[in-house]
Amino acid sequence: MNAPLSHTGKRTEPSDADTIIEVRDLVTHYGETKVLDGVSFSVRRGEVFTIIGGSGCGKTTLLKHMCGLLRPTSGSIIFQGRDVAAMDEEELAGMQRQIGIAFQSSGLFNSMTVGDNVAMPLREYGGMDPRLIEPLARLKLSLVGLAHAYHYMPSDLSGGMKKRAGLARAMATDPELVYFDEPSAGLDPIMAAGLDSLILNLNRLLGTTFVIVTHELDSIRLIADRVLMLDRGRVIFLGTVEEAACCGVDRVRQFFERRPDEYIEQRAAE
């Protein structure tokens, strides 16, 4: 199991020298279609890194490659000095135990209570004192504001609560890096704002690095340290939210200004 992080309450500012995961020239195909085309970037330790873009631009595919759930056609993903794309099954499982993944639909096991869902990785990975599993699961649920839901079944939870519980499970083993697919999708604004603030708190308190796939502008503005924008499988922007707001790339401006496709045609005509 991954060594737990220390919580000092002082978040270290991310720097380029402290890269936690690096994607180099990633290319992938679904059949004949090229989904990702030469994607390269690195994520700094302790930052909230968001991957944005329109529907079908390859965001979730990129995330699945970073988790080792998909193999690329070419390129590499370097995590702790090892290429995820070149790992065998056993190495991949070892890597996946050091990260946390929170899925869009939460991915909770319906047959278990919420507490058992969170405790599952602690039990399955081994190495944890059995006396600590239940308190640790409760603690993780407290972190996401669901301390009262330990004995609930996933079917008893609302959409937002399910996402929180999924996040608690993703963070059960104190991973350094958490991937979160569409945290705000399908949530009301209040619930979405709550989840954003939770991500910020966990990032600040635990120093956890978040890689978040989203297309919710409000969330991006609130939580993102840096933004990577994909368009048709290519990186068209990488920088801070402020830089994105005054970026000269039409597609990026269109996204941040919430304009329809006619905007691009209009700009081209001008």
Partner: protein, 369 residues
């Protein structure tokens, strides 16, 4: 008189630091009403596992009637403790109140009648949408009915034929051995013909179909319930009995008797294979003997049974599918329940038929019908 003990946590409250603190706590000789104060002034960092140890200490203390408090935490540690505070609150372990025998009996009775009412409602709806509504011009999904006949009937032909053939072979094998000493082996042909016409083809085919189709119906509808597709149908004002149940019911009512006829043929062929190849009877003799034992009443009895079996399998599958709760596990549970209920209902229907034909038509012995 209560005593206040003080424990000082180390600079780092992690897995090791937490365990050391827990060991120190365990070494204190505590009695009910004592207080333990954990001084966190030296603690610079803590993590989740350290927090879990602290939670463990609180839980053990609570069990012994001892109060645990902590303080003097600074900066990030204090903030972290604040966030995880709900997990550190001592809580008495909740024991589920077991219902008394009368309460349990009442619960079972209510659940039985609720389910019976739901099943009755489904039967009425299904029969209306299958038998009456199409003639009132309210529509019948004919293409779906054909699809169901193909799925439930045509695609089950191979397994039904194979199962009946093998059962015919086995029965011929076993019964021939029993009558060998009397020189009555030719009557194995009669036995096979009567058994398959009246009983075995209908029951064996229905068991295969309930395992194959009954389970599939329950799983399909249960998955639709879980994925809110049934709610979507109802939300669109579409009657689920018309849309889902009627084509399946009529499909199986057509398919199962056809499969039963095939089952009879293949069961008899299985017996013939043993009689001709192993017992050495000439095919024409075995054929004549089989034909002589064939009675239209027996065949009709078998087919009539299969008709009722089909209704039971389709309705039980649909009923269990609609009753699902609890996601993917519920789907599995309801599918299993559907198959178990199917097999039980087959035996029950078979028993009713056996009793009916025995007392009403005095058909216990061949030739007396």
């Amino acid at each position: 008189m209560s005593v206040r003990h003080t424990l000082t946590a180390g600079a780092i409250l992690d897995r090791q630091g937490g365990e050391a603190l827990h060991d120190a706590f365990a070494n204190i000789r505590l009695k009910r009403g004592d207080e333990v104060f954990i001084d966190l002034s030296s603690t610079e960092r803590m993590d989740s596992v350290g927090g879990a140890w602290l939670s463990r200490i609180v839980k053990e203390a609570f069990r012994h009637g001892v109060t645990v408090t902590w303080g003097h935490a600074g900066g990030g540690v204090a903030e972290f403790l604040e966030v995880i505070a709900p997990a550190l609150r001592p809580a008495p372990e909740k024991k589920r109140a077991e219902p008394g025998p009368l309460e349990a009996l009442g619960d079972v009775t209510i659940r039985f009648f609720t389910e019976a009412r739901e099943f009755g409602g489904l039967c009425v709806d299904a029969l209306y949408w299958t038998l009456i509504a199409p003639f009132e011009g309210r529509g019948f999904r004919f293409n779906e009915f054909l699809d169901e006949v193909y799925e439930m009937g045509v695609r089950a032909v191979r397994i039904v034929c194979l199962m009946n053939f093998l059962v015919g072979l086995i029965i011929a094998m076993l019964s021939a051995k029993q009558v060998e000493a009397f020189g009555l082996q030719i009557y194995v042909a009669n036995l096979i013909m009567i058994a398959f016409a009246r009983e075995l083809a209908a029951v064996m085919t229905a068991v295969v179909v309930s395992a194959r189709t009954g389970a599939a119906i329950a799983a399909e509808i249960a998955t639709m319930v879980v994925q809110e597709e049934i709610d979507a149908l109802r939300g669109m004002g579409i009657n689920t009995a018309q849309y889902l149940v009627a084509p399946k019911l009529l499909g199986l009512v057509v398919a199962l008797p056809c499969l039963t006829v095939l089952g009879m043929v293949f069961g008899v062929m299985g017996g013939a294979l043993w009689g001709i190849v192993v017992l050495g009877f000439r095919p024409s003799i075995w054929y004549q003997q089989t034909l002589g034992a064939a009675d239209m009443n027996d065949i009709i009895q078998g087919l009539l049974k299969s008709f009722f079996f089909a209704i039971a399998i389709a309705l039980i599958g649909c009923h269990n599918g609609f009753r699902v709760t609890g996601g993917s596990r519920g789907v599995g549970r309801m599918t299993t329940r559907a198959v178990v209920m199917d097999v039980f209902s087959l035996v029950l229907i078979d028993m009713v038929f056996a009793t009916f034909f025995y007392y009403i038509f005095k058909q216990g012995v061949p030739g007396q019908g």
